[in-house]
Symmetry: C3
Subunit: 473 residues, 3 copies
């Protein structure tokens, strides 16, 4: 028993120490080019049809995804369907565009803090499990997610996802292939613990090239069944069935009754919050290790109007999610923002100082312009709901929301994004002396002051000329 | 109003938090090779003639610049000329070889702490600005620089430079393309906010290849004028004039009267120092955010004799500028040193343990030798004033100053440079037991002791044999 | 004198500050691919015969070494032989498979804390050295190593090694070419201060290609002898002899009498420990700089049974050496583990979450399986004593020890290794709800519970079915 405790403590020490290191170090690279001739906004080009939904992928060979090292996918999970457990060699941010469900993310060595039994709540139940009778279960935390949430999934952490709602879950997932957590090359890879695309000819793959199929495989299928059976101490037959699951695709249908017990209801969530706080408090006494990773938050709502970081009655609102709001982002070195722009609002011309930006349009449309160091217009088009594009680091961009407004979620390859706007309260023009402007552009001092101060009280979201006509959200 | 304060605070939080992250993370790479056959000291090979000066660039395709990821340029700004506002996707160190002037570096979200009016000092003036009457101006700090200064320019920060002196400003600028702040590829890029090389045929370009021209363009020129006019809330005509400035080249002439008000005189500088200290003090009370970036120093004199880090009456003196003296260097991950070697002094054979070294000769000449791991002499030549060369990390080098002495400035791709000398007080020979030397070289113990101790009281700069004959500086 | 102290302090400051930076920053890369078709366990393919031993190298062009950026070598030093002083552009971990000896690792600017005289112990001796009479010597610490030790050698630090025992020293050295300390490219390089492979035709090279020979050269040989003589302030003739040593190969024979005085005996070691503690204590008073690098430990025994981190009476034991046990590893960003598996024990299927793993078999054999994201078996073979192979990050592996047990040492490219086992106390299966398993694999709840709990009380080393039959170590 004492040995178990020592092992557990030691594992915990290793995990907690190591997590801090996960993303701070080295990186493995592929030669990369950012000589971009054209940026285009597009829908996914590849599609994997599964029993319980499908996975759509943007073409990673496009210049913009190559330059930014981003792999983007959209996963649709039908009601009562389970996205099978898998992990990736880089961190991933997921935005829940629609629906709700449950997600599990496992960390090796963290305690199993969820006790459940079939068909009833664990509260009031005895804590003892009975394995033979299958009455109880222990597992790590399960996270409920809803429309508008960002989920942060660390590199190498096994995760699964279940849609227990009544509508499709639509999730947009951004993989940061360049991330320091990834010591492999920059090719997309997924490691499935169950299911897989199998080896035979498969219908339902659109635009998936041969080599890519190999990266949706069940890693158990290739191990020797005898060895695995002995490792698990189970019959060989059971291992064979695990391996055969490789033809079940990546998302499977599950009767709702079969997954019922997992669901932490609201009450349970509060309780869990209480438990987490208590653990934290106790953790401080036993030296704070437990709280660092095992109880970290992985979910944050990007759509909370009350949490808006920029709010303008004329322009719209901007929610920013960085490492200060969701600390796990520090380890992922990624972040996100959600913008709601009123009709005809203009996003101040600006550039991102420390990251690439991947924009996914969630509603409406906008006229988007992007200019690189070559002084050429790399993008000048309407971007529409469901499309995605990349704005590389330092490239200047601006947009004007369409007549029905524009909503987007933007993912960044840094945990502390910083942008440099050209117009408005925090702009570079405002920071420069009038004389530098007059002499740079050969304009009069009064014109220079217009450039500096005509939008003095606004920042990022600029109301359309004449202002005030936008509808409120 | 409260909203404004909140926005300002939030922007400040973002900026300060983000700055700390600017250089600590990821990097985007190009395949790189350091199989160097020959290192040569050379003058710039490319030249861009501008109205108010010219920009010279070393050939970045040379092995030594490819290996080190360094792009080097020398900028000459004539009196009463303005280098137009621009930014780069990597940090830059600038050494002022000659002249003096003013530099502005803007940080998004930092407060405009300089209040100026046309033709008079801001002291005693009312604090209220009148925009219509163009009486006052607000802008961020302007830095006065002088011969011998190092200026540190963070990645993505817009900067401009004005020569208000009577002689040419000669500035040597080193760009660290490999730096972690740069998530684009390793190609040189500049983003100009005004001016540009334009698109037409251009006289005055020497050695500039087609593709490179595209990286000296005005980023505003390619945006839709209507959209920009609405963003700035100014007439379209004004935007068109901003865009037309793309043919004004990169350095323009400005009548001195037109830039007069900018100049913080000595008194002003002290006052600003006082203001900075007060801000810092107050900053600590309001939680210290304001001081971290917005008031950081970007300038340090490398030529201050009293600050010499190594001083030898026989050998010369060495001024080292690392992150401890100029904290912003920690974010840039770069540093510099200035060496004054007396005639015939020898620089102890040594290698740099954690950076490449880019050497620019500021006066005199020296006989330089560099040896790589291949055991071949990669460089064995006289290096002269105005020339530049790279000593890759770990490559061993030594030099002997010419008969008129040798002065150089060296830039390093680390913020905490460390070198390992072979001879002298801190040498590896001194650190090894006599017996290791005797057996490694088959020499006698007394010979080994000579190797260890004959220069026992010297370090780095070794006086010529017979010593003491060098002239004093 | 005061100058000397100032110089020393300044150097110390630079060294200590810089060391902290050594590995935290940038990196220079070569395009890298991890599309691995096959992993094979192998003996070294290249061999350099030297006067006092030989150096064997694994083929760095193999996919597995390319992907992981690892260069591996095995160095055999015969009794009374000296591996000549050299340094590398990346950190190195060395495992002592057999024998014992002395190692010196020099840090520029650290004090010479070892005082020795010829033929007698320094204790009781007067502290004054007499250079002319060659009575005393000062040098930096010399480390005694023994079978089972790991030695950590920072990038750029000169080191040498002497076998003063009665049997061969067999040392396995892992170089981490991808490490952030290396700003050169990913090619293997060694910088020798003495000896070298010379330029002429050389017998005793097996499998060494032309270009590689150039990276075992004496860096002094290419410097101008006159310049070096003046730098060292010694006769030119002495420098010429240093340069001629380039034909002495890399390991030379040395009569034991010639190296006698170096040996710190056990008593000396304790005393040194005392001295180190005292220094540390005093160091804290004078601000703690001295202890950070100059007195850091570079050696740790991996074979200490009492220090085992995982211990199972049925399975075996595992010793893990990470940054918490040997703090210098934090700067190297490497770590190691030593496993002793009892006969037929199974290593839980698992993957490494934050590093590549290089395995060297020290005794016995095992049946090893590795599966990548492609779901194919990349390795399925017996691995034997003296062989080495790489398990890339995230690739799943398992093995079963042979009938005589299996011992190995594994090197990792992170200082805080973390693995994710599939079976056992800390496994991902245990962390997932039963229902996820039942639905993923279409198995019954009781089968899922078997997968979760049948190895509930074990971790990493799983006893063979029927358990308890393994022999004890």
């Amino acid at each position: 028993m004492a040995t178990k405790v020592v092992v557990a403590l030691w594992v915990c020490l290793m995990v907690c120490g190591a997590m801090g290191q996960l993303t701070e170090k080295r990186l493995s690279y592929r030669a990369q080019q950012c000589r971009i001739n054209r940026l285009t906004s597009s829908q996914p080009t590849q599609r994997i049809e599964c029993e319980g939904g499908f996975i759509e992928m943007w073409d990673q060979n496009e210049e913009q995804y190559q330059c930014s090292g981003i792999h983007a996918m959209r996963v649709i999970i039908q009601p009562s369907s389970l996205a099978l457990p898998n992990f990736h060699p880089y961190p991933r941010l997921v935005y829940i565009e629609r629906g709700e469900g449950l997600m599990g993310v496992t960390f090796p060595g963290c305690p199993e803090t969820y006790h459940s039994s079939r068909g009833q709540h664990w509260r009031g139940e005895e804590e003892e499990r009975e394995f033979g009778g299958q009455r109880g279960d222990l597992h790590q935390k399960v996270h409920r997610f809803r429309r508008g949430d960002i989920l942060a999934i660390p590199a190498g952490a096994v995760h699964w996802c279940y849609n227990d709602g009544n509508e499709e879950v639509v999730a947009v997932a951004i993989n940061d292939l360049n991330n320091q957590a990834n010591q492999l090359d920059q090719n997309f890879r997924a490691f499935y613990l169950a299911g897989g695309l199998g080896r035979g000819e498969q219908p339902g793959l659109r635009g998936i090239r041969g080599i890519q199929r190999f990266h949706f495989q069940n890693i158990f299928s290739a191990f020797d069944p005898e060895l695995m059976a002995e490792a698990f101490n189970v019959p060989v037959d059971l291992v064979r069935r695990m391996q055969q699951s490789e033809d079940r695709s990546l998302i499977v249908r599950v009767e709702r009754g079969e997954m019922r017990v997992l669901s932490p209801d609201e009450a349970g969530e509060e309780e869990e919050e209480y438990y987490r706080r208590r653990t934290r408090y106790m953790g401080l006494e036993v030296n704070g290790l437990e709280e660092t990773i095992c109880t970290t938050r992985l979910r944050h709502s990007l759509d909370n109007r009350r949490e808006a970081d920029v709010f303008s009655r004329e322009g719209g609102r901007l929610n920013i999610l960085n490492e200060h709001k969701l600390p796990i982002l520090r380890y992922l070195d990624m972040s996100a923002e959600k913008g709601h722009m009123f009709p005809n609002t203009i996003y101040s011309p600006h550039w991102s100082m420390n990251s690439h930006t991947v924009v996914y349009v969630t509603r409406g449309e906008a006229h988007m312009q992007v200019v690189g160091s070559s002084g050429r217009t790399l993008m000048d088009e309407r971007v529409r709901e469901g499309e995605m594009f990349v704005i590389p680091q330092y490239f200047a961009s601006t947009c004007r929301a369409g007549s029905n407004g524009f909503e987007y979620v933007a993912f960044k390859t840094t945990s502390s994004p910083m942008k440099s706007p050209v117009v408005g309260y925090t702009s570079v023009f405002r920071a420069m002396p009038v004389q530098v402007l007059t002499n740079s552009y050969m304009i009069s001092p009064s014109e220079a002051q217009k450039l500096k101060f005509n939008r003095e009280h606004q920042t990022f979201f600029l109301s359309p000329r004449g202002g005030g006509s936008g509808r409120r959200y």
